[in-house]
Structures are given as C-alpha cells and as structure tokens.
Symmetry: C2
Subunit: 266 residues, 2 copies
Amino acid sequence: MRREITGFSNPTVKALRALREKKHRKAARQFLAEGLRLLTDALECGHVPQMLVMSSARDPHPLLDTLEAAVLAAGGEVIETTPDILSKITGKDNPQAVAGVFAEFDTAIERLDRHAAPIWLVAQALRDPGNLGTMLRTGDAVGAGGLILIDDCADPFSVEAVRASMGAVFTQAIAQASWDEFLPWLRSGPGQLVAASLRDAVPYRGAPYTAPCFLLVGNESRGLPGEYEAACDLRVTMPMRGRADSLNAAVAAAVLAYEVLASLEA
Amino acid sequence: MRREITGFSNPTVKALRALREKKHRKAARQFLAEGLRLLTDALECGHVPQMLVMSSARDPHPLLDTLEAAVLAAGGEVIETTPDILSKITGKDNPQAVAGVFAEFDTAIERLDRHAAPIWLVAQALRDPGNLGTMLRTGDAVGAGGLILIDDCADPFSVEAVRASMGAVFTQAIAQASWDEFLPWLRSGPGQLVAASLRDAVPYRGAPYTAPCFLLVGNESRGLPGEYEAACDLRVTMPMRGRADSLNAAVAAAVLAYEVLASLEA
C-alpha cells in the first residue's frame, strides 16, 4: 500500500517517532533503520521492512525502486513524506532520504548456531548504544557470527545502535541472555570463553585461542564481575603503556577480535 | 578564592554552561572536564584547573582536598554549588561531584616533539567527538605521543571528546593543522606516514613499520582523500570478512596502533 503523509500530527508519524523510545519499540516489537545503503544491506540479508518511509525530496535511485518493490510485494506500506517530517521521525537534522521499519528479531540464545562462525562477541552490561553498534560492525568485519548481550545491556534496536552498526545489525546474529542462561548454553557445546582482563591474564598476543571463540568484554565503567572472569577459559591482557588502565569497550573487543582472527587463520 | 553559588541565573553558571558550545569555548579559550579521577589525572600531568566546581552533595575525599589546595595555590577559584546546577553545567543527568575549567592548550603542530614517542595518531576530518576522545584514550594506552587533527575535525575540547578520552586529553599532546601545514612539518624530520586504506595496500599485520610512526585515519563517511593516501609511506589494509568495507574510525586506529606497538617492540 502507498500513502502520502504531510502532517506532523498524523498518527503514523507519532507511532514512528515513538520508536525512538525503548518502551514503544518493545510494545510495537519494531525498530527503525535509516539510509539507502543500510536498507539495501538489510534486504540482501533477507530483512524486508514492514514500512518504508521516503522523503519527497529524494533523488531517484534504482536501489530505492528495488526496496519499494520488495516492501509492496511483501504486503508492506510505502509512505512518502516531507524531509521535515522524516527529520522528526529519525531525530536527525539532515535525515537520510529513506527509513524503514523492521520487525524486531527473536534474540533467544537457543537460536544461535555456534558452529556458524569461529568468533563470537559477548558484551556484559554494555550501556552505550554506540559501543554496541560499533561491536556489531566489528563483528561483521572479523567474520564473527554475532553479538551476545549479557545482563542489562543497551538496546541493540535503538536508533543509535542501529546507526553505529552501519548495517551489521542485519548481518550479525543478536542474542540477549542473563549470565545464568548464557553459561549453561555455552557449556552445552564446544566454545572457548575468553575475557579481556587485567587479573591473572596472559598477553593477548599469541594466546592459545580456539574456535568457536567467545570474546567477553565488560561494562564500560565497572568491567567484568570477578566471577564472570573466573568462569572464562582464558583471560588475556592488552598492553597499557600510559596512565589509563582500560580501553574503550568496543576498542578492546576489536583489538582482541582481530588478534583472534589472525591466530585462527594462521 | 572560594564562593558558593545557589542560583541558576548566576553569571558564572551561565558562562560555565556556555562552555558546552564551541564558539564560547573558543572565545573564552577554556574547556570543561568532569570527575575526580579525571581531574586528578590532569593535576598529576601538570594541568591545574582555573576553576573547580564542586557539588554540595559530594563525599569528602583526600584527592578532592588535594585538588582544592592546588587550585587555590595557583590563584584559581573554588565554587560550591548544588547538584542540580552542576548537572545543568555539565549537561549530564547524574553529574560527577566535581568539574574543572581548564585553559585550552596550544595546539600548534610546531610544538610537537616527534622524538618523544614511537607512535602518533593522526585523524583527518574526524567528525565525531566520541571517536576523537576514544582515539586519545587509545593513544594513551599504546604509549603514543599524541593526536594530530588534520583539516576540519571535531573539537578535542568538547565535553563529549574530553569525556570519551577518560583523561587522555591531559596525557596526550594534541595538535591541529591543515594538511598543507602537516605534511611539510612531517617531512622536516624522520617519520613514517601510514594510512589505513583499501587501495594499493599491504596487509596491516607484519607490515614494515618504523618509529616514529604516524597512523593516519580518515573521515567517518568519506575516508581519506586519494591524494592524502598517495602521500603516505605505507598503506595497510585490515581483513574485512563481512559485508562492510570499513571499520569505525576509532576502531581502525586502535587495531592498527596495537599492531604497530607489537611490531616496534618485537
């Protein structure tokens, strides 16, 4: 179905704007993603938006036509609106010409196939959606299978996380679990749990990584709880040559993930 | 001098709040940093705040006493205010108990001593203050000398950049220059310019890095201009196993910097 919306007070506009808030996303079981490239990535990974919102000021593009056709073929809606309204919806001053509304994915950990990839990223109580999105993006780059979110993490379907993921939210599997759900799942099959740690750790370079390798990083300010570190098969440490005693969580995950990638491929 | 401020409309509160905006920072030649740990790092690196703003709800702490004494000894001001006003000043819902106002540093590139460190980070047109702060933090971790900002970058003295740097804004040298200023400066002495690149590049692992090594990363969306890449002594590429063709800029800098660190120390 196609519609044109020109009023800020239109109920669809209100519902779309509300997707910027977690409680509304959870109620609607939907999330928002912006940009032609990102939506094209999504489509190529099999994710068709339920609704496509296009700016009346867009330039024509064959990929946009493809998107539109896919949405209509799947029974979704295509909405044309003003750049101002699109800006209100996405919360961005210079909005992309197109945004899509997607059904949230099932993030049950039982759905993960650990044999699908040699590397998995695991974040514990990660609070910053930008860090979370960046970890998804890094996971895509190193050929990881996905990101497992332990305990109370930022929402991977927030606009900020989706944006920072640069499309990897559609290519990486995402699971959410408590530590008490995660650990039994992990131990029910093969898998090496590796923590970036300062305690009782070996140098991260040349450490004995084995696939499937699960790389665990902790909360931005508190790091990993001691008992979580203790449950790991391997604790590795990165050089810290300056005054600081830790790296940004997404940076630590990336440095470690690239080391594991090199090690497993050697 | 000591003062107590209880009113939101106090001119000092207005001036401090204004430091969240770049034009006011540049006019005042000052910037704001928050948190006891960060301010203590600053002090230990020889940076005494011109003004210390403390919450009336703070817990006593010997490091806070040390800070207060240092500010008063240097002829600065110590201000006590309410948590609400401190929150307004820093723009944070749960403000730290203390914030400091610092004189902006001189960021002329001529002041850098390239022999002071084996690694230097260089960012071109980096637009995200969080990425910039994260690069400073990574620089501290790998023992870099500092961060050189080329062309139109985010402001390293913004609240977001200072916060993301976790204190490294005080430990890392910061320089700002146009490309046309940077390149002659670089070529006036020893220094290998290395670009993270997709074109005409060798694998980043095992590449022939030499100190002082200048690691150049480009703008978040456009990457490096071709002529900048061409001017580099070495172009290296990182594996991209997924759909994406680039990493987050701060992540790329970190993966590369840790590789260079390992290479130079081997």
